[in-house]
Symmetry: C2
Subunit: 326 residues, 2 copies
Amino acid sequence: MPSPSRSIAIDFDKIREAHERIRARIHRTPVLTSSRLNEASPATAGLFFKCENFQKIGAFKARGATNAVFVLDEATARRGVATHSSGNHGTALARAAKLRGIPAHIVMPSNSAKVKIRAVESYGAHIVFCEPTENARETTCAEVIKKTDATLIHSFENENVIAGQGTAVVELLEDVPDLDLVICPVGGGGLLSGTAIAAKSMRPKIKVIAVEPENADDAAQSFRAGRRIVTKKKFTIADGLRTNVGERTFPIIQHYVDDIVTVSEEAIVSAMRTIWETMKIVVEPSAAIPYAAIQESKIDIRGKRIGIILTGGNVDLDALPWMSRR
Amino acid sequence: MPSPSRSIAIDFDKIREAHERIRARIHRTPVLTSSRLNEASPATAGLFFKCENFQKIGAFKARGATNAVFVLDEATARRGVATHSSGNHGTALARAAKLRGIPAHIVMPSNSAKVKIRAVESYGAHIVFCEPTENARETTCAEVIKKTDATLIHSFENENVIAGQGTAVVELLEDVPDLDLVICPVGGGGLLSGTAIAAKSMRPKIKVIAVEPENADDAAQSFRAGRRIVTKKKFTIADGLRTNVGERTFPIIQHYVDDIVTVSEEAIVSAMRTIWETMKIVVEPSAAIPYAAIQESKIDIRGKRIGIILTGGNVDLDALPWMSRR
């Protein structure tokens, strides 16, 4: 896999173009509110949840992957696409490739959740298993690409992916234009980059704050240090956020994002459970962390109308986090 | 508690009036579709889920209780309302009473789920615990009423409750007018009665089919026998549907409903899990039984556009049915 360049060309026009490109191939997901959750945080002027858990494949990742696949020229597309992913991006790429009728090669760690493997298979993608290390994933993916001449669609170090992810907040701001603050999780930083560019372009005074698990706080550390720091991570239940922030995404984040805060594992589980019980929707741990930051008072919410991106809803119902804690 | 009369005066006008009365005090819940679930049942012309799990208090019961409380004249209302309920009706009545600013007395079995007790308490209702038998519930409720002069709002043997429950299908048919079939659960029969009256009034050729757990199939047996049969019940996970069909609701059901089918416990759990995993929404076991009937091929769905009422989403996340089966 080629080392990504530090410079990345992406602006709001790319996000608008992405939206036109993918619009008919994804869901326009609803924005939900909850009077109970508003009452629980009376300091806010309202919480607005963009429900990407209802998105195709159950996560916002459908946006970026669809854009990255459909932007390819015909000859390139025919050679197929490839990625390594233990999570939603693999499924999203498999689906986008199926929609376009091209091959997809998904490198997955051998210990991936069965439900994720089945999801990728259901779209007819070719799965290549590898050891569950970052190095093995990248090496295996490079081999697959060498063999097949497929195009690498990285899950966040890719401008078309970032542009696609930015379309969620475009819809959110179309539906609720007068937001003061948008909160979104940060893992590799694809969603956060696209969100920050789009939000600040549509509404220059809006604040964008990212949330990260304390146990995987490389983005928060990097943000404070002013340079990208790769950390050794403890376990976090928020499996979508275990990745290090990207070399390409970090400069965008430095430029556009107002703050990055962290939350405890307990807060993630509590927020996830609160959302399930109160809103009656299924969200994955990674999706719960913006609300966890509100519950843990990590963000100044006073008087603000707040948009929250609920990133996905793919969980193993046999292994819910509150089960193992009993 | 007075024995309910066999005749009950309710027509579509009552349901329309109920809708006007409660409209501003309840949610207009969304109608969701799922391309995955449509693909899983290719014989249908589409499934349309009316999401009463997103309703106030997490269940359609908010409709009937709100109507029954707000229809009372001022003098009667001031004396308060009372009911016995181990489930959503108690919470719904507590909420409606709080909205109107009148006392509510809720008789609950001593073994009620803590989450349900907390929900009733959160609306400031007066809870009276009793032994967990039908007889104790009725006796205790009668005592409370004797002492307080409160008005009994039975969870289904009450025309204003039935009229309120009928408003869910009114909204469903406003949103999706060309349905061929509506499927809804039957327990006491309040929702089913209101649904059948409203649906057949708005769209005379529509079919209304009810679903009941095999383990609590008194309504199905009664429907086939042509007379109300009270059965001894086995345990069903669908806790909202353990009640016998009512003396007042059964004649309505006989008159308006096309069929009552039953489903196994395994089908209920499987359908519930499928809805959670696919639609990313939280529904309670009782709400899953219409889809269970589709999964178990208990209903002829060929070529039909089908409305399904997802009745509620109040579950104990520490005791999900697939946990105990492992």
